[in-house]
């Protein structure tokens, strides 16, 4: 197992960590941008306007049915040329993850808003609250509680999906790993096992706490 020494080579772990940082950055930016997109999407989905309904339906279904990798390819190779967008690989990834995260989150928002019993609106009406007060003080706080656990889960999924960015050439943790494997292919031909093993563990270390947090929130707010 002396091939494990590849991990001790100067620069290897720092570079992997740097790569991981890119992964996290990519995921964080995508999640951060998904939130406003998701809120708007979710709100649009609750509207009764038939045209908006159909559009949102198609948007959601298309995003859901296409593999994320296919979406990445479409964004990276297709859209940039068609719309004269200068999307680099990272940009294409963020674009796709936000579209995808926004759609998923939008559906969660819709679900959360629709799951609030009508009686909550009616009580607020009877108490004289305005529509805006009802939304901000009654509906939203309840919706957020239903929303948050699922959103944290979505964040975990986004982190995992950022792994696909490597296939567009984004230099994130997997790509860095491949570069390291390549740079050491003469001295540590069996380094592959260890480098991929470490990357595997890194994803776990990032995603697992998120999953736990989601589960905790879910339990904590389950009975309220």
């Amino acid at each position: 197992m002396q091939s494990a020494n590849i991990l001790l080579q100067p620069g290897v772990m720092p570079r992997l960590l740097q790569g991981l940082w890119v992964t996290i950055w990519l995921a964080a930016v995508s999640v951060a941008l998904s939130v406003p997109v998701g809120l708007v999407t979710g709100w649009l989905m609750t509207l009764r306007n038939p045209v908006i309904r159909v559009i949102m339906r198609i948007y959601l279904d298309f995003i859901r049915i296409m593999p994320q990798l296919a979406l990445l390819f479409i964004a990276f190779y297709g859209l940039a040329r068609a719309w004269n967008w200068n999307l680099d690989a990272t940009g294409a990834c963020v674009f796709v993850f936000v579209l995808w995260g926004g759609a998923e989150l939008g559906d969660l928002v819709r679900g959360a808003l629709e799951s609030i019993p009508a009686i909550q609106y009616e009580s607020s009406y009877m108490l004289g609250l305005s529509n805006w007060q009802t939304f901000t003080h009654v509906i939203l706080p309840q919706a957020v509680r239903r929303l948050l656990p699922a959103s944290v889960n979505l964040a975990t999924r986004i982190v995992k999906t950022t792994s696909l960015a490597t296939l567009l050439g984004v230099v994130e943790v997997i790509k860095v790993g491949q570069q390291i494997i390549d740079a050491h292919r003469f001295d540590y031909p069996a380094g592959t096992l260890w480098v991929y093993g470490v990357i595997f563990a890194m994803y776990f270390v990032v995603c697992w706490p998120l999953s736990m947090a989601a589960r905790y929130l879910e339990k904590r707010w389950a009975n309220e």
């Binding site: 019993p117 009686i119 909550q120 009616e122 009580s123 009406y125 009877m126 108490l127 004289g128 609250l129 305005s130 007060q133 003080h137 009654v138 706080p141 309840q142 509680r145 009975n223 309220e224």
Partner: protein, 273 residues
């Protein structure tokens, strides 16, 4: 009786898509300081009636007036228009307590009660909190002010819901089967509060299936069924003892269990199924 607080005149209500009208024009009034109890079989429209008065349902005909002022006028064809367009201020004049579970789950008991007066009536928060605590004491829940609704029993929740409506000093209170979702023991703790309210002169419109309670609290009773009023009575005691219409008699009988079937029992013996 004194002058009417609520006057419902020739009310017509139709749900979008429904085959027939829930009400084909019904009229009644609630005098100030009195309690009107509405009874009737399931599906007869008791909840709908309360919701119309509350402004939660659009009406298609007739008028609803509060203190002689028309607050809602029926418009044919507005089945889908949602809630009536009443001002916040008007809405605070009518309080409502629903069947159950309608406290705001994200606020404490105190937060639930103080929210509307502070946000709608713009009253100073300390005053409101002081009054809220008094109300809570009245319903026996002063020690639960900081609890979250999910920590309360059903009966406690309903008492909080009553406080939440009361703190706005509504002229009219609407109560729709406030104990229907409760365990029998809790029924009493809630209805005692309602009885006290009546004693204090609160004008109320109450829907209930608890006939004993109805009998005890009502100043006036109406029974509704299939779109109209079956029987009205200003003497609840007499009504519950001897309803005049056959429909009311039948209805009241469903709350009793006749023994005559039992008498044959000993004779029937072991020829069981």
């Amino acid at each position: 009786m004194s002058e009417p607080m609520l006057t419902v005149d020739n009310l017509l209500k139709h749900y979008a898509g429904a085959e027939r009208n829930v009400f084909d024009g019904i009229s009644f009034d609630v005098p100030k300081g009195k309690v009107l109890v509405i009874i009737g079989p399931s599906g007869s429209g008791k909840s709908t009636l309360l919701r119309c008065v509350a402004g939660l349902e659009p009406i298609q005909g007739g008028t609803i007036a509060l203190n002689g002022q028309v607050i809602d006028r029926g418009e044919p064809g507005n089945e889908k228009s949602g809630r009536a367009k009443r001002s916040s201020q008007l809405r605070t004049k009518i309080g409502m307590v629903f069947q159950s579970y309608d406290l705001f789950p994200n606020r404490t008991v105190l937060g639930n009660i103080t929210m509307a007066p502070v946000m709608v009536q713009k009253r100073p928060k300390p005053d409101v909190e002081r009054e809220a605590m008094e109300l809570l004491k009245r319903v026996g829940l002063a020690d639960r002010a900081q609890a979250k609704p999910h920590e309360l029993s059903g009966g406690q929740r309903q008492r909080v819901a009553i406080c939440r409506a009361l703190i706005e000093h509504p002229e009219l209170m609407l109560m729709d089967e406030v104990t229907a979702a409760l365990d029998p023991e809790m029924v009493h703790e809630v209805l005692d509060v309602v009885l006290e309210l009546a004693d204090a002169g609160q004008t109320m419109l109450i829907v209930t299936h608890e006939m004993q309670f109805a009998r005890a609290i009502a100043d006036k009773v109406i029974m509704i069924d299939s779109g109209g009023i079956v029987e009205t009575s200003d003497d609840p005691e007499a009504f519950f003892a001897h309803p005049t219409t056959q429909r009311a008699q039948e209805f009241l009988r469903t709350f009793e269990f006749s023994r005559h079937r039992r008498t044959e029992k000993d004779g029937a013996g072991a020829q069981t199924a």
